[in-house]
Structures are given as C-alpha cells and as structure tokens.
C-alpha cells in the first residue's frame, strides 16, 4: 500500500481521472457504449478506493493534514489568484461521500439508462460532474471554489436538460440556470467585497485561502483586517450576506429554492447524485468550509451572518415540509424533502452545531440517494409512471425496493437506530439550545417529515396496486446499489453517537461546557472538528424523546390516513367545505404560490422596470445622443455643401475676395 504522504500529495489524480474520462468520451469514445461506461465507472472506482485509503492514512497519521499545494492562476499588479489542492479531514469525508454515491449511481445508471440513445453522453456528463464536484471539495480558496462551483452548475444544467427534446426538461434546466446565476452573482459580489477589504492583509499568501499554517487563512485575515480597521463588522456582514446567496441558490434555500423540484425532470440517477447527495450539499459544504465569513470579525458566534443562515434554514425546512405533504409526483416529494433537510443542515451550521450540520449532510447523502434510486426503480418498474396515486401495493412486486425505501423513510423520519435520527437530533438539540421556539419549529418539521415520507411509502408500496402497468422488480444491477446504500443509511449514524456520553438527567446531555478538557462525543465530530471552529455538541436526552415522539406521531397519522383510507383522503381535503382547510391544502399543493409570485414579479415588476430603464437610457439618452451626432453631422454637411459647390468660378471668387479683404486689412493696419 502506498504511503500516506504519497496519497495526500497525489490527490490531484482523483480529480483529474473523471475529467479525463469525461473528455475522452466526448471527444470520440462515445461511439462505444461499453468503453464509455468502463472509462467512467473505472475513473470513479479509482477515486473511491483512493478516498478510502486516504481516509485510512489520515487516521493513521493525523499530522499529514492539512496539506495544500497551490499554483498561480491569474496574476495582476495588485493581487494574484491561486488554484490548488487542499486535503484536510473535512475534505476527506466529502471525498468519501462524493465518490461512494457517484460510484453507486453510475453502476445503477448502467441498468437504468441501458436503452437510452444518450447512454454514452450521460456517462460523459456524470464524469465531468464528478470531477467538478471533487475539485470543489479540495479547492484551496474562494476563487477556486467559485470556478468549480460554476462547473458543477453547468453540468447540472446539462443533466437536468438531458432529455432536451422534452419541453419541461428544457424549461427546468433553464430555470435552474437562471436561479443559480442569481445566487452566483451574489456569491461573486461577496467574494469581491471581501477581497477589496482584505487584499492588503494577505501579502504573498493564498488569497481568500481556507488554510494557512501562519494564520493567513480566511478567519485569521478577517480578524487582522478588522483589527486594522479595514473590515468593519457591517461590511463583513454585508459580504457574508452576499456570499450566502451562492449557497442559498445551490442548496435550494428559501427564496431561491424554486429550481430544485423542477430539476426532477432530469433522469433519476441525476436526481440522486446531483440534486440530493452532492451538488445541493455543496452550499452547506461551502458554509462549513468558509465558516469564518459568517462569524463575528473576531471569530465568534452571535453574528448577524449566522442568524441569517439559521432563519433561512428554518423557513426552508418548514416550508418545504408543508409543500411535500400534498404532492403526488414521487420524485418531487423527495425533492421537497431534500430542500427541507438542507434547511436542517443550515439550521445546524447557523446555530453553531458545526459537526451536526456536516454529519446530517453525510447521512443524508446516503439515505436520500437511496430513496431517489428507489423512486427510479419504481418508475422503471412501472414504465415511467411517477404519480403515487397510480401506485400502491408495490411491495408485492418489488420487495427489495420496498424494503430499501422503508429503511430510507425510517432514517429521514428520525427513527431511533437509523442514521437520520442521530444527526437530526444533534441539530434539533442545538436549535433548542439556541432558541426554544426555533427548536419547537424544528421538532414540528420532524413530525411533518415523518408524515409525508410515510404517506409516500404507504401510497407507493402498501395496499392494492391502483395502476394499469405490469410492475416488476428491477435487475440486480439496479437494486444492488440500493442495498449497498441501505447499510450506511442505518449504520453511518453510529459514527456520530456515543452511548457513554448520553445523559438524560442533564439539561444538555452531551454538551461540553468548555471549562475542561473532555473527549469528543463521537467519532464523526472528533474527525471533523478542527480545533478552531465554534462547536456545539448538544444531543439532549429530553429533546431526543420529544422529537422521536413527534416522528412517531407523524408515522401514526400517516398510517391512519393512508394505510387505511388510501388516496381518497387527498380529494376529501382538497374539496373540504371548511374554507381554511381548502385554502391551506391549495397553498401547500401550489408550493406556497412561489412560482406564481415570481412570474407576477417578472411580468409586473422586473420587465416593466427593465423596460423603463431601457426607455430611459437606451431610447432617451443613448439613442438621442447617437441621433444628435448624426443630425449635427448632417447640419454641418448641409452648411459645407453651400460653400463647397464644385464650381471653379465660385472658388476663384472666394480666393479673390479673401485676397482683396486681406489686402484692405493690411493697408488699414499699416502704420
């Protein structure tokens, strides 16, 4: 086995391999489907094995990391931008997540996309996306992150619109592109604000870098710039809020969440890989990676930036959960649940549960990828049907998919013993510690989560089959990735839990008071914690009991409603004679009317505003100035035409007049 140092220093090959595979497929190898598949899966298998060995090496020799390598990317007289590779514990965990999910999704895709004419193109895009995502994970500074950020965005655009001949897919791709550009524009403004305020402090160090052994990293430089009076707290808050627009759009947070459910028009493996496990989590990853931006200038919590993250996360988690309650498209229900869970992660990071937020990202990647792959297996087995009203009783026809979906449902609902339970409770405890009403909202959202997820499960797999297709279980190459992902969907949670630390009698069972050295609560936090990041370990026995009870109530209600009454309940609620109930159902079903609101804003506010600006500047200023130039030229020409008429006698007369005139003047002026 290669040495740890060798593994760390050659991490670049893990990023280069999928890029190379993608480029080779695009440049000609797409003609052979087998070659395209082998290249793509081969490159990600290499990355997967490499990530495992790297993780092992880091745990054996912790001093190997953080390690970074940079090259000059762009140099100006004022500053130079770098591009490089950063390996640390956080990156190692993300490498594991991305390569694992990508490998399993690519195996699944072989069965799922087998008959698609764009099979090779699909693998090319998958490889390019994986390379971009891995590049984003090991980026050393904000500019490099932005570079890969845009690359994953472009890949996402290509993959949402993979079936571009479907109008809905093309529109969804465009919508995702526009919404993400809004976020990215804010992200870039935030970066530039930070750069403008701190560029004199960085010296020769990596500009806006995440790590520096001498303290010239984001956190250190922000502190130095603040101390030197270059970066007032208000400016940092402004930069933090602008920068946050990027993660908000990428992680589909309110109010930039509208693109993600529509992105489900893409192939299901893409929904699993990009729009559930990896790219949408990139926003959460960036917040964690560049955490000092959202802290106070001296590196503490209690900042406006963290409050904004918390509020946005809480609104998103609750809003998306209420919308998921009434949807019928199996993939869109899962998409809304993704939006909601990303909101939980934001709440975790915002309330100081740094490892809790990342831990939920880690667990969520496995169980949500599995749930999406389950939905793909169902859609595949029903020949394209996505409406859960036309499903039911599928457990009999596709038992493996049903049990995997049940495991995922239990996990996301926070059932004790499943991975989602551990990370979600960490976040809920932190939210309760932060603000009791915020905690209550998160617990209520956990109740809604259990309800809508079991609604999905019961309507899809229980009772009698209501459709007219011939359901069948998928081939092993499709269901095996589900089974593989089912294991971490249960077991990964135990990495973030330590039974010995559980203390039901204390207000906060696993809380560290900071006054004395204590062992970290669990393996995950111990690995992620960098010794500097504000940290809250707050898995609380009481909160755990309450949130579990809430989830159990959600399950019981879903059982009562959908196991026994099936689909008629929705029609009954929608046509309820109680106006409030009918209104709430309509509000949920129409996704809080955000699409209508944005359409109204575009048609009634933005387009008229643009029209006004266009009229004012283009028509009344620019056009008139251009026209004035033309008119003036014409007037001068007309005048000149009177003088320059081309007749020799006229010119002779003018010359004579000048000579005569000058002679008279000379005579008069002579002494």
């Amino acid at each position: 086995m290669p040495s740890g140092q060798f593994l760390v220093e050659n991490i670049g090959y893990v990023i280069a391999a999928p890029f190379l595979a993608g480029m080779l497929i695009i440049l000609g190898l797409w003609r052979s489907k087998t070659t395209a598949m082998v290249l793509s899966i081969g490159s990600i298998t290499f990355g997967f094995l490499y990530s495992i060995f790297l993780f092992y090496a880091i745990t054996q020799e912790p001093k190997l990391v953080p390690w970074q390598f940079n090259v000059n990317w762009l140099a100006t007289s004022d500053f130079h931008l770098s591009m490089g590779l950063l390996v640390d514990n956080l990156a190692a965990v993300m490498l594991l997540v991305v390569t694992t999910v990508s490998l399993l999704v690519q195996i699944y895709s072989h069965g799922y996309m087998r008959d698609d004419p764009g099979y090779s193109r699909f693998y090319a895009y998958l490889s390019l996306f994986t390379g971009s995502m891995l590049g984003l994970v090991v980026a050393t500074n904000l500019f490099e992150t932005y570079f890969f950020w845009e690359l994953v965005g472009v890949c996402s655009y290509f993959l949402i619109g993979f079936w571009w001949n479907k109008a809905l897919a093309a529109e969804a791709a465009l919508k995702a592109f526009f919404v993400n550009r809004i976020g990215d524009c804010g992200f870039l403004i935030g970066i530039l604000l930070l750069l403008a305020a701190t560029k004199d402090v960085w010296g020769s160090h990596v500009l806006l870098g995440y790590f520096d052994p001498n303290g010239f990293d984001l956190g250190g430089v922000i502190q130095k710039a603040h101390a030197a009076g270059l970066l007032p707290a208000g400016l940092l808050t402004l930069a933090a809020c602008f920068t946050l627009l990027g993660p908000m759009a990428k992680s589909a947070q309110f109010p930039l969440h509208v693109w993600l459910p529509d992105a489900m028009e893409g192939p299901t493996p893409i929904s699993a890989l990009i729009h559930a496990a990896t790219m949408v989590a990139a926003g959460v990853y960036l917040v964690a990676r560049a955490y000092p931006i959202w802290l106070t200038p001296d590196g503490h919590t209690g900042s406006v930036g963290l409050v904004v993250i918390t509020v946005i996360g809480a609104i998103t988690a609750f809003m998306a959960a209420t919308i998921a309650l009434s949807q019928f498209d199996i993939k869109r229900i899962l998409a809304w649940s993704t939006v909601s869970q990303l909101g939980y992660m934001f709440v975790g990071l915002g309330t100081g549960a740094f490892s809790g937020g990342i831990f939920h990202l880690f667990n969520h990647a496995f169980f949500k990828a599995m749930l999406f792959l389950c939905s793909g297996a169902v859609i595949h087995g029903l020949h394209g049907e996505q409406d859960i009203r036309k499903m039911g009783g599928l457990k009999k026809y596709m038992p493996i998919t049903a049990y995997c979906c049940l495991i995922g449902t239990l996990s996301i609902s926070g059932c004790p013993g499943f991975s989602g339970f551990f990370s979600k409770d960490d976040i809920i405890s932190s939210a309760c510690h932060y603000n009791i009403w915020l905690g209550a909202l998160m617990i209520f959202t956990a109740f809604l989560t259990a309800f809508y997820m079991f609604r999905l499960y019961f309507m899809t797999f229980e009772n009698e089959y209501r459709g007219d297709a011939h359901p069948h279980e998928s081939p092993p190459v499709v269901w095996l990735p589900l089974v593989v992902l089912a294991f971490p969907s249960v077991l990964s949670g135990y990495l973030g839990f330590n039974w010995e630390s559980l203390n039901f009698t204390s207000s906060y069972g696993l809380r560290f008071d900071g006054s004395e050295a204590a062992p970290l609560a669990n393996q995950f936090a111990a690995f992620i914690y960098d010794g500097k990041t504000p940290h809250f370990e707050g898995m609380n026995g009481l909160v755990m009991l309450i949130s579990t009870t809430a989830a159990a109530l959600g399950f019981a209600l879903a059982w009562k409603v959908y196991k026994t009454h099936t689909v008629h309940v929705n029609t009954d609620i929608a046509t309820s004679k109680q106006p409030l109930i009918a209104f709430l159902y309509d509000f949920s079903f129409n996704k809080w009317k955000f699409d209508e609101l944005y359409l109204w804003l575009v048609n009634k506010v933005f387009l008229p505003a643009f029209d006004f600006v266009w009229q004012l500047i283009d028509i009344h200023i620019v056009d008139k100035f251009v026209n004035l130039t033309g008119t003036a030229t014409m007037a001068i020409g007309t005048l000149m035409r009177l003088i320059q008429n081309g007749r020799g006698q006229y010119y002779a007369m003018v010359i004579f007049a000048w000579v005569a005139g000058l002679t008279i003047v000379a005579y008069l002026l002579s002494p």
């Binding site: 598949m37 209690g302 593989v484 809380r511 010794g531 504000p534």
Partner: protein, 63 residues
C-alpha cells in the same frame, strides 16, 4: 435456403453475443457494488473502532 439459414444463424449468434456481453457487464458491475459495500463496512467499523481523542472544546456562549 442455405444462405438464409446461415444469415439467421449468424444473427442469432450475434444476438447471443450481445446478451452475453450485457450479462457479463451486469455481473461485473453487481460484483463491484458488493465489493464497494464490503469496503464501506470495513471502513465504517474501522472508523468506529478508533480511540476518541481528548480535545478541548470551547462552546460558544454568545447567541
């Protein structure tokens, strides 16, 4: 007649060849999925077995 038979046989062989190749690919990828599960399980149990380091944690008092 004979040439028709030959043509039919060759098509049949070609189809068999494609099915064999697909079957082989499916089996290989299934085996890869199982191996990845094994790798993940080993990694998970290894991670869980690591000793917990004693690290000073400073919980933020500010909100």
């Amino acid at each position: 007649m004979s040439s028709k038979h030959d043509s039919h046989d060759s098509k049949h062989e070609s189809a068999d060849h494609i099915i064999d190749e697909k079957s082989f690919q499916d089996k290989a990828l299934s085996a890869l999925a199982v191996l990845s599960l094994l790798a993940l399980l080993i990694l998970g149990f290894y991670w869980q077995s690591l000793p917990l380091p004693a690290v000073q944690i400073h919980e933020e008092a500010e909100k």
